[in-house]
């Protein structure tokens, strides 16, 4: 479904990704881990098409099509979803209004009839249960005055409404207490099925206790330096990132000097 080949990208003139390659198949969950500043969030934003990030070389195929030449909204309508690390506030626009607009854009794209506010309300009510979201949050402005946990739940609610083929969750666990982490993770697990794929970007292993990945990749200095199964995450938890760093720098001295 997703094929990233030797991807290089920069932001504000600084090279961040230096040759990332990754293949994600339908039904798989991949975790991208790594120390701070290794390029995890950059990878997530490049996939979604953030205008501040410039791809300098490499390619990304999504369902066989060149993802990089599509506008962010085209990627989204095509089934790419990014759960933001820092969800943005949109004052004066109700959550329900925003979600319906987004949902109907997708339906239009698929050639389906748009839902009116009443029909959508029913759908929203049903999906909100997935993340135990309070109905009161639907009539409030998008993310405005939401707690950290509510914002993250709202991201997963959007995922539940839009049902993407590929969901990239950028540090969805950050800033969550243990109860919120459980609710969010259970929500993601309910949305996980054989036809979609999930990429979890996370610094900590604890999220992976709840959402168990099929593959774990360690990103360091803009490259994937190690891949493995879920046991790799446990090893990282135990030993920290230092041994990976040492290993990576022994094998690739050029990365260390850059």
């Amino acid at each position: 479904m997703l094929e990233i080949r030797d991807l290089h990208a920069r932001v504000e003139g600084k090279d961040i990704l230096r040759g990332v390659s990754l293949t994600v198949k339908r039904g798989e969950v991949h975790a991208i881990m790594g120390p701070n500043g290794s390029g995890k969030s950059t990878l997530a934003k490049v996939l979604a098409g953030h205008p501040s990030y410039e791809v300098t070389s490499g390619e990304v195929l999504f369902d066989g099509k060149n993802l990089l030449e599509l506008e962010p909204d085209e990627r989204a309508r095509g089934g790419v979803f990014l759960a933001f690390q820092y969800p943005v506030e949109i004052p004066g626009v109700s959550n329900a209004q925003f979600l319906r607009l987004a949902y109907n854009e997708k339906r239009k794209h698929l050639g389906e009839e748009e839902l009116d506010p009443l029909e959508f309300k029913d759908l929203l009510k049903e999906r909100a249960q997935i993340v135990e979201m309070d109905a009161g949050l639907m009539s409030r402005s998008v993310n405005e005055g939401f707690s950290g946990g509510e914002k993250k739940r709202n991201e997963i609610l959007q995922m539940a409404v839009l049902e993407p083929k590929l969901a990239v969750l950028d540090e969805t666990d950050s800033g969550l207490d243990i109860d919120a982490l459980r609710i969010v993770s259970e929500g993601v697990n309910k949305l996980r099925h054989a036809d979609n794929a999930i990429v979890l970007v996370t610094h900590y292993q604890r999220l992976l206790n709840y959402i168990v990945p099929d593959y774990v990749h360690v990103l360091y200095k803009g490259r994937i330096v190690r891949s493995g199964g879920k046991e790799l995450a446990l090893a990282l938890e135990e030993k920290g990132y230092d041994w990976i760093k040492d290993e990576a720098e022994e094998s690739q001295p050029s990365a260390a000097s850059a």
Partner: protein, 478 residues
């Protein structure tokens, strides 16, 4: 970081000119001009006196070019035609006698005037250049005791009411443009809601400037007697001309005990081209007097047009417990300039005022909020809340807030909050990541920003206002 570039102005769709024969007087302004206007309108003596007094005041006054945050070349007041009226029969027995060209013009503007097509539940007074050409539902309203007619007609039919109220809210020497208007105004609307009547439909005036050489100086007077209620709407457009045209209107509102007046404006005068050539100078004085106890006056404005807007719809809160409200969206794009806001003068006890101002600046435009909250010594328990928000699109535009607060009573509570924000790349990216197009994303953010004002507008107007803002900012973002 890619910057948000200015969204280009969509073609102004009301920019057409109606080809119609006009009765005009020579350009220029003098006592002679004023006598001529008064004579053409066959006015009683008291009106001529009112005009001449205003003119003599005007001659002694100075154009307010220094304090507002606007710049424009000096207006040549001798180069304006002060009276231009489409030629038609002096009195019309019915709508069928209105020149078909005029009916067609207003139809094109979305204001059908003929009996068969009239808007349901909205009575319209259509003003074309210097005169009112038609007023719909006049008879139906009369049955409820409501008077809704052109100002000229009111001068003849209800001279006592005119004498009693004209110039009592905005005196002839109030300011430069109000004095000019008082001297040369040619028409406008008159509304009278008698005691205890709730006006059964929305009243509306549609202003159209057609002649490239004439200014428009109209006068609106609305009187709501004890315990009455009226909602009034105003709309305006003009053709595209390279030359600037002056629009200097005066609106006076009077609310007696327990009366309520709701006044809404969607202003879409021609704004000039991208370089700032042409467009209307909108120099307008609007003021309401809450004379009675528990009276209420509400101004809601959506200002999207005009090369320059200079306008401060205000409330004089004289009656105890009276309420003044001002809800405003002012959008400037390209080279437009706006200096707009309100004045709330608290005189009576427990008077309350609420100000919500939303300024949106794009292009290289300049958008200023200027507001005065004044609490006089006798205004025990007065309260004001002011919220001023500015939204910037791009980095070549300007937004300013000039709040003036004068409080002479220590039981008064005055609150002022102001914010300035930009449509951020992050907001746009977030919305686009959910499949919403760039244009829809911008429009969603702007409508969200204006929500507190839009919800004060009558339904049809709110829809129109949202559409208008979207249209004004339509284009591509870089």
């Amino acid at each position: 970081m890619s910057s948000i570039e200015l969204l280009t102005n969509k073609e102004y769709k009301y920019g057409f000119v109606t080809d119609i024969e006009s009765d005009m007087i020579p350009r220029g302004l003098s006592e002679e001009t004023i006598r001529l206007i008064s004579e053409k309108k066959n006015e009683p003596e008291f009106m001529l006196d009112f005009r001449l007094k205003a003119y003599r005041n005007w001659l002694k006054m100075e154009e307010p070019q220094r304090w507002p945050n606007i710049t424009y070349p000096k207006v040549d007041y001798q180069d304006i035609i002060y009276y231009s009226a489409p030629k038609q029969k002096p009195t019309l027995a019915s709508m069928d006698e209105v020149d078909p060209e005029l009916i067609k013009t207003f139809e094109k503007l979305g204001i059908p005037l003929t009996e068969q097509k009239q808007l349901a539940n909205v009575a319209v007074d259509a003003v074309f250049d210097s005169v009112s050409v038609a007023t719909t539902y006049k008879e139906k309203l009369k049955k409820h005791g409501v008077i809704f007619c052109s100002f000229s007609e009111a001068v003849h039919e209800y001279p006592e009411l005119i004498k009693k109220y004209l110039g009592t809210v905005v005196p002839t020497n109030d300011n430069y443009f109000a004095a000019l208007n008082s001297a040369v105004f040619t028409d406008g609307s008159f509304v009278f809601i008698p005691k205890g009547v709730r006006c059964p439909m929305e009243l509306s005036t549609y202003f159209r400037i057609n002649n490239s050489e004439s200014g428009q100086f109209e006068r609106t007077l609305i009187i709501a007697e004890e315990n009455s209620h009226v909602s009034y709407l105003e709309g305006c457009t003009a053709p595209k001309f390279d030359k600037n045209q002056l629009h200097a209107a005066v609106v006076e509102l009077v609310a007696l005990d327990d009366a309520e007046i709701k006044y809404s404006t969607v202003q879409n005068w021609y704004a000039g081209d991208e370089e700032g050539k042409g467009g209307i100078y909108n120099f307008v004085t609007k003021r309401g007097a809450c004379r009675g106890r528990n009276s209420k006056i509400s101004w809601t404005q959506v200002e999207t047009g005009s090369a320059i807007t200079w306008k401060y719809p205000s409330c004089i809160l004289q009656g105890d417990n009276s309420i003044g409200e001002f809800y405003s969206v002012a959008l400037t794009n390209h080279a437009q300039q706006a200096d707009t806001g309100t004045k709330m003068i608290h005189i009576g006890k427990n008077t309350r005022s609420n100000i919500v101002s939303k300024g949106i600046s794009a292009g290289k435009s300049n958008n200023s909020y200027r507001g005065l909250v004044k609490v006089l010594a006798g205004a025990e328990g007065a309260r004001n809340y002011t919220q001023c928000d500015s939204l910037l699109i791009g980095d070549k535009c300007g937004a300013n807030t000039f709040p003036y607060i004068e409080v002479s009573n220590n039981t008064a509570k005055v609150e002022h909050e102001a914010t300035t924000s930009r449509i951020s790349e992050e907001q746009l990216f977030y919305l686009r990541q959910r499949g919403i197009s760039q244009e829809d994303a911008v429009s969603l953010i702007i409508n969200g920003f204006c929500k507190d004002v839009f919800r004060e507008l009558p339904m049809e107007f709110a829809v129109e206002a949202q559409r208008l803002l979207g249209m004004k900012l339509e284009g591509s973002v870089g």
